[in-house]
Amino acid sequence: VSDRITYERPQIYERLVKEHDVFDSYVDLFVFAAAVGFRKDLKRPNAGGDKEMLWANVRYTEIYETIAASIAYQETGDPEILSDEQRQLEIMGEYAAGGIEFLADHFDGTGDPTVDLAEFILEEGTQVQADAESVIGDVI
């Protein structure tokens, strides 16, 4: 049996994935919500739920795989977690549960939320140049 966790899939998943097609799949929104939850430090330990999220789906894109590894490493500071996919998925699940609550509060109105989400990413998301240069500067 491949690695998996259970999670809640509230109405906002249907709204952003099925109704308005902002995200292609539940996995896309799950990872997005996890990143938002991590960034905003919204964690729901042992959230659980009646839906399953499979590691096989998360690792479907290299970027998602990297995101899961990075968030898990930042959470634990333990390099060994890089090879512990189940644990990575669990950490993602805890932040996704927190992140989706935030998204539901802010994007659950009527009408198409696409533009609002785009603006949210541009406004609250990371600045490219500033952060990137400082970190790459550190590394080099």
Binding site: D28, F38, E65, T66, I67, S83, V128
Partner: protein, 683 residues
Amino acid sequence: MELERLELQNFRQFRDSSLEFSRDDDHNVTIIHGDNGSGKTTLLNAFTWVLYGDVNFETGIDQLANEGVMAAASVGDSVEVSVTLTFYHEGDHYRATRSLPYRKEHPEDLLGEPGDTTTSLEYGDGRTYESVNNPETRLEQIIPERLSSLFFFDGEDINELAETENEDRIKEAIRNIMGLTVLERSIRHLDEVSRRFRAELKDTGSDQLSDLINREDKIEAQLEQKREQLTTRQGREDDLEQRIDKIGEELENLDESHDIEEDLQAAERQREELVEKRNEVEDEIRSSLTKDGVLGFALPAIRETTADLNELQENDLLETGVSQEFLDKLLERERCICGRPLDEGSTYHERVASMEPAVEGDGISEHAVQTMSRLEIAETYYETLRTGLDDLLSQRRELNAKIDDQTERIDELEANLASLESPELGQQSPAELQQERERRREELKNTVKDIGRIEDKIDELEQEAMEIETEIGSAREEKAEAELIRRRWKASVETWDNLESSFTKLQQTVRQLANKTVSERFDSIAHKDEEDLHAVITEEFKLEGRKRVGDQDEQVEMSRGERQIASLTFIGSLVSIARERHQENADAKYFSGGIYPIVMDSPFGALDNQHRRQISREIPKLAQQVVVFATDAQWNGPVAEELEPRAGVQYRLDFDDGEQAGTHPETDLVMEHEQVASGGASS
């Protein structure tokens, strides 16, 4: 079944003994006599052990091994206890063997630790034998265990059959001989089955199906109605669109409004194009968001992780894992490789302090390299996303401005139209046309909304109908199942009734047969001169003594001897019923009978000589083959006088009680007398 030979190896006090059974019709009795405790009961147990694995010793199978052999064995050696019974059954010779090794555990161990029992059964023509695959099953078919108490019994307590309140044992014996216990079990089982069927019927017998069908009908009716509404609304939509087009044409054809209407239509087309473009831009925003939007929030984690991993790699810590020394160093300088302060008492200090140093790399290095290598890709994606989104959002803003402009222009042109009054009488003015168009458009908008709602409702109803359809499908299956259960239940009740009544009849038939035999034989042997004593098996299955008083039979108390005789004749009657049944080869459904020997231990009990003589006379008639164990005290006198002439083979048990130092209990079977050559032809 006809017994041929019994061989005992290390079985209790029998070290190596064998016993031949008489198979002569005229000398059908085999006698084994000896002192009390010399091994008669052991021999009876040898039968039940070899056939069914049962022994009736107080110590169970714990003391089965011969003491003398056990004493002589070395520690760790096993003494094999075995019994072999050879018999003849329906044309074949059989050899049943049961053996059980006992391992000597210590020098004083006289019991040994029992190992695994092995059972084998071979059959053949007396010279060559073949193994039977399921010995236990075949033995059970030849001489069912339920009959063992009838054919291998302790004569000391056989008189109990004729004691009051023992009708259950009589009934049981009759049932056993007829195989009725098997039948009874079937009846009980059938009863359970029919009860189960009835319970199942209750579960499935609801009106669930008709409820479902009613619901489905209602939904179908609603669907029908909604579809009609849809068709009407769609027709209305077409009409309105046509009318709106027509108004446009009319406005174009009127001189006063021609130019304005042309401009208006152009403006509307342009607005439509702009809206179309805005939709495309929004689609692009969506598709760039869907996978890469996440980087807006995840990128910092990837950057920091990559930085940390880079440092670990530079310090050669990824291949070997983090060492304790490295962790200690970090704690000492109070700063992590990621730059975080590691102040004593802080969360990060605790985390680093509790980290386990890795012994080996665990493939972490590969994962780390992979993660680091993807930072660049992630940065590129994110940069593209931000630039793209900036661009798309500003495009969208521009389009919105243009759309607003067009809308304003359209409003203006429409206002112009609305102010043009008609030049000719009897014709709609452009103003009226424009007003109507606005009304129609409003109506069209509402109609389209209605259509959307109706379509949604239809989807919902169709979904519901599909679900009910599925439920109806399974309810139909359940109904069919319920029908089947109903039929089965009826059948089981009928079968149960039939079996029950034939069971009762058969039981009474056998009782009557047994009663007849018992009465005849009992009368012939126990008849006392002055008294007219009979033994009967009553309808209540009581084996009782009766005396003729006047016109009526009265129950009388029998003496122990009389009870012994009554009981023996009862068993004898069962054996002969089974034999007759077998020989008639009747087309019996439940009871096919069989030929069985009787093996009895001490049937003479505490009887007086007269009764002993009477019983001794009766014994040869009890079965085709009779084996009798008797104590010497019972044997000497009338029993020997009566039985010796009928005995084909006669053995004495030569017993050494092992009381003297260095000796152990030991019995030898000594053949005293043989009327007919053993191993003679079987009938």
